[in-house]
Point group: C2
Chain length 463, copies 2
């Protein structure tokens, strides 16, 4: 039998009206019409200039390269020995470039902690003096083919993951867990002692285990973890276990003591963010595969230093486009509150840049607890992000969207045109140095980065 | 603003009509009215007799005990030494009792394989002679506080998991993986060699690791795995990793060689069903906590021996109610086809009995590939099973049903009344002895078991 179509409401225009209908549980279809660029005539004109076949072709090329990337974890090295242009005086940090004075509390805390860890300062006071003196150099991880979560401080002696794609190498530090950890700005004895153990035990054990195991396919772990409730930014539960599973038999066969091997396995097993760092290096490798393509408007970096939010765009080489970083909407750990939260920080938004984290929310409803936390709400974020992306990648499918691919490759044009800003899941740091993690949160990237990049794009190509 | 209610279709009566509407994507509400017991006047009369406060009270008690159960894995033992009423001549099998002549191919294969493994027979011919001779005794695992997947053969020398709840112990054998394995009826050299390794290496290593670790909380692993895409019957990917994660540091500290430790970790890590067996013993412990409660209609066992499907009901003690086992709707491994499939087999339906497997389909859409495999279809099975269950257990929540609990505690009355039969995910064995796994499938429990039990219930209590 056939039935008449049921009554539907069709909404043309303002999304807020549509959202209102949805709240009332009426079935509404939102027809995508909005004034381009939110009705800003100048931006609309610039956008029009970017509607060219050469941009579409360049983006096509970028998408192909990004989707074809297959990064492998090939080893562990010491930062100053393996990271390009790194030396005893170089201290890397997350996000766009920033000088000491403008650094946020957690970044300052992590730099000071790193100076103590390196044995260059005896205490925080001496560390602050050195940091201010100009004696050491600061640089973004991203500008050294590296990524670091939160403060993202990588100092010369730290062990780092080495990830390779298509002959090019990328780096990330090792994940310390949560609480009083360097990347959230802590620098006390507990923090420094853990970093030393990571340098002297964790790094060497993993290095030997990786020699025995051979390269580890990070894309395979990431794809499987998306089927197991990880969005790979704030939830790396499954991926960390899959990683441990691959390495454990080789760790067992290294020449270290039984106690050391057990410690390493326990540390990896109990830290549900352990895989975040190799995943970030993998995401960086993927996005870099589509970077520096002439005419491409694909966004290849989203990164924050705790003060500024910065983006890079494929066709605009290594120029950063920045705006003030905002404070995430946060679910606080007991004992912390709104005023404790530092603005958005970390290179970990490379996960969203590559189509994971907030973009893959549908697979991890628990992560969006802070904004309601239902499965339906989580799925909506993924669907919304698809509106600013060039592709849904079937290699990274999401069971609860009937195995649809996660949205990947943000198009700068679509962001400005639709006004839909990248949705980011993130850890939240205490705004003062020395404290550590205060919670997990969500937020949007600031529009200003994208409009700045759009203007620069038109100027650069003289259109 | 307010909107008029949109058009809905209300269906009263036959579910098939409702399903038809749903296929046409019209919004339809199915109002649950059906003639009780599918219109069978005799059954309807029996059902009426069971609508008593003492049944509701008894079920309440059963539900409370089942939900309160918290089984722990406390060790590994040798079957003949730890399983009650087990000796050198006892060979346990899955499902209800069955004599040699009526056993299915895979059960016969597993019994013959076990006789070879035990060193009691030199080859299949000798094994068959012994099995037929009456020299050895056959008994259901369930009648020995044990559970075994597929053929479920537990022979005297096998290592078994020991699970404890509230002072009572339950047992399961160790999982061999897939392919040419004993529990699917294989008995070749490869199968026997693996069983010997399990007895001589896997069992002893795990036994020592468990002594070092102390008891393992199985409920915690199961609850977490439901958040990671495991329905815990055909998909134990996450649970097996969580189990490995807990044991790996202790395995590293046992006195075995590095090679043996690495082998054990690799075997556990590469078998995505490794945790099925301890999960089954845990599910048995949970359901047994609600068993033998006077007047309770809670179904405490669903089990199959490859020939018959059998159930037990709390208020009916240890009586089995059986019906012929059906062939699952199967997704075959390459090289196998419809005619190769044995009828439904294994104690693993204890997972569904306890509210997992097919009852938790919503969390693992990949598992229901054989019947469509969409997330929506998977969720529908869980919702349907809630109609025959007494409770949704928040301790075992499902993210994609907005963290609703999985349906638990099947009420015999509801099954007969609604005609909704338990939905089971299962492995499928080759029907001939000696072959092994042919695929994964789904099916429903047969109604006849439930109507037989209903009749017996009324007789037993003289209502």
């Amino acid at each position: 039998m056939r039935l008449p179509e049921r009554l539907k409401i069709i909404n043309v225009g303002l999304r807020s009206f549509y959202e209102d209908l949805k709240l009332q549980r009426a079935e509404a279809v939102h027809v995508e019409w909005r004034p381009p660029a939110g009705g800003d005539p100048e931006l609309a004109k610039l956008l029009e200039k970017l509607e060219r076949p050469e941009v579409d072709e360049a983006n096509q090329k970028a998408v192909e390269r990004i989707l074809a990337a297959s990064p492998k974890l090939i080893g562990i090295g010491t930062a100053k020995e393996v990271i390009p242009k790194m030396d005893e005086d170089t201290y890397l940090h997350s996000g766009p470039p920033i000088e000491w004075e403008r650094m946020s509390g957690p970044t300052k805390g992590a730099i000071m902690g790193a100076l103590i860890y390196e044995g260059r300062a005896k205490n925080v006071e001496e560390a602050e003096r050195i940091a201010k003196s100009g004696e050491i150099k600061f640089a973004p991880c991203h500008d050294h083919d590296s990524v670091g979560p939160m403060a993202g401080v990588i100092s010369p002696s730290m062990p780092v993951f080495i990830v390779e794609n298509n002959g090019k190498r990328y780096y990330s530090n090792l994940n310390e867990g949560l609480g009083k950890v360097l990347r959230y700005g802590a620098y006390g004895d507990e923090t420094i002692k853990r970093l030393k153990w990571m340098e002297q035990t964790l790094g060497p054990v993993l290095k030997e285990a990786l020699k025995l195991s051979g390269p580890i396919d990070l894309k395979a772990i990431m794809a499987q973890a998306l089927h197991m409730g990880d969005e790979l930014h704030c939830r790396n539960v499954a991926s960390s276990l899959l990683f441990l599973k691959q390495l454990a038999p080789f760790i067992a066969q290294t020449g270290f003591s039984e106690k050391e091997k057990a410690e390493v396995m326990r540390f990896m097993g109990e830290n549900f963010l352990f895989f975040l760092n190799p995943a970030m290096a993998a995401a960086k490798a993927m996005m870099d595969a589509g970077h520096r393509i002439k005419h491409s408007t694909v966004v290849t970096v989203l990164a924050r230093n705790g003060t500024d939010f910065g983006i890079k765009v494929s066709g605009l080489d290594d120029e950063w486009f920045t705006a003030p970083a905002e404070v995430p909407k946060t679910l606080f750990f007991p004992g912390f509150k709104e005023e404790d939260a530092n603005p958005d920080i970390g290179d970990s938004a490379i996960m969203e840049t590559a189509g994971f984290g907030g973009f893959a929310s549908a697979t991890a409803p628990a992560v969006v607890q802070v904004v309601g936390g239902t499965a339906t709400a989580a799925a909506e974020y993924t669907k919304e992000m698809a509106e600013i992306c060039l592709v849904k990648d079937k290699s990274f499918s999401i069971p609860f969207l009937n195995f649809e691919g996660t949205p990947r490759c943000i198009d700068l044009r679509k962001v400005v045109d639709t006004g839909i800003l990248p949705f980011i899941n993130t850890g939240v740091a205490h705004k003062k140095p020395g404290y550590g993690t205060v919670g997990f949160g969500v937020l949007r990237a600031p529009m200003l980065c994208f409009t700045k990049a759009l203007k620069s794009f038109v100027e650069r190509y003289g259109w």
